[in-house]
Symmetry: C2
Subunit: 218 residues, 2 copies
């Protein structure tokens, strides 16, 4: 029974890794579509998100089946419950990718990204992509150093998020209301995306250094 449980947990882990990988692809396409005003990439980001939605529903069903069949307790139970929560955050990260891609689509053929903020958003987008890739790596290897790095990268995203507001509210801002709306929403989406990654990293850390790893691969 214990062996079955371990192999089911390994299955949960590998599905989380797979979903996280799709989230990284989705945010990469979404931020590129936003920065380059590429509608084709925007569509692809949205298609990735549809896959993410399907896979998270399937993962949740698997987790519930494991709870019912294996009746885990203590740390084992917390791992399965954490998997459900990580899945919810990944699903939300996919939604935020879609929101960013939709901004690109709404404004096409204009650029959604306001002048004067292009380098800021290029940097925020690149950070979100790095964060998503690190997250995939963290879920794969449970190397806790990655959780720290994700937190540091999120601090950079937060600083850029503030700088967007400073720019938009500054005296030299010449953007139209549409630019202000796009910058506000896009900045919020980028920031929330990174927040969810930190929240997932904390859950992996909470399960204890190496603990999830031991439980899954012991």
């Amino acid at each position: 029974m214990r062996e079955v449980f371990q192999s089911e947990l390994a299955e949960v882990q590998s599905r989380l890794v797979e979903i996280s990988r799709l989230v990284a692809i989705s945010i990469d396409k979404a931020t590129r579509s936003f920065n380059e005003s590429d509608v084709g990439l925007a569509e692809e980001a949205i298609t990735e998100d549809e896959k993410i939605d399907e896979l998270t529903v399937e993962l949740d069903e698997l987790a519930i089946t494991i709870l019912a069949r294996q009746q885990p307790v203590a740390r084992d139970l917390r791992i399965v419950v954490s998997a459900l929560r990580i899945s919810a955050s990944l699903e939300r990260m996919g939604d935020l990718s879609t929101h960013i891609a939709q901004l690109a689509r709404y404004r096409f053929p204009d650029k959604a990204i306001p002048k004067g903020l292009r380098s800021t958003f290029a940097e925020m987008g690149a950070l979100d992509v790095v964060i998503a890739k690190m997250l995939t790596e963290l879920l794969t290897s449970e190397d806790m150093k990655l959780a720290e790095i994700i937190r540091n990268e999120d601090d950079k995203v937060d600083a850029l998020h503030l700088s967007v507001f400073e720019a938009v509210l500054g005296e030299s801002w010449k953007g139209l209301a549409a630019d202000t709306v796009d910058a506000t929403l896009a900045s919020r989406y980028h920031e929330r995306f990174a927040d969810h990654a930190v929240s997932i990293a904390k859950k992996v850390q909470y399960l204890g250094t190496g603990a999830w790893h031991q439980d899954i691969n012991a």
Copy 2:
């Protein structure tokens, strides 16, 4: 054992109702603070949210304890898992109340709410409060008619959300960039708040008309 489980489920339900009640108080204070530029009310909304955060952590611990001790299966298991998800949505609704209250606080003594949009935000705020109260009622009585009403009220919030963008992007908009930012963020927060209520209502409905009711009170 079955009786213990039923009484524990009843405890989960009554805690969800209590948290939902605090969410309704919090959004009421937050939207009033935003509409009336009342910093005292903003502080109160934020304090309510701190209570909500504490209570959701406690509820999650209780749900996990129930999973460990009672090892529920089938519908019973789904009820406990749904309670965890409802708790996460309520926690998020409290966060959104805090975000709205913070907008009021940042701009004080100015009004955060842009001229020309006051009646729109008064309406959105009132709808969010009604939705939160209906949600508390739905979690208490499991009267599925309330789930329908929540969905209809959410449609109204979505329409107002769109109308905010139409106003801000229209030719007659004379707001400063700060007004545009505030309107964009506030509208988004109001809209997300209602979305979470719909998501909770769907979970209650998914548990089946009267099913959760029977399980808890049989």
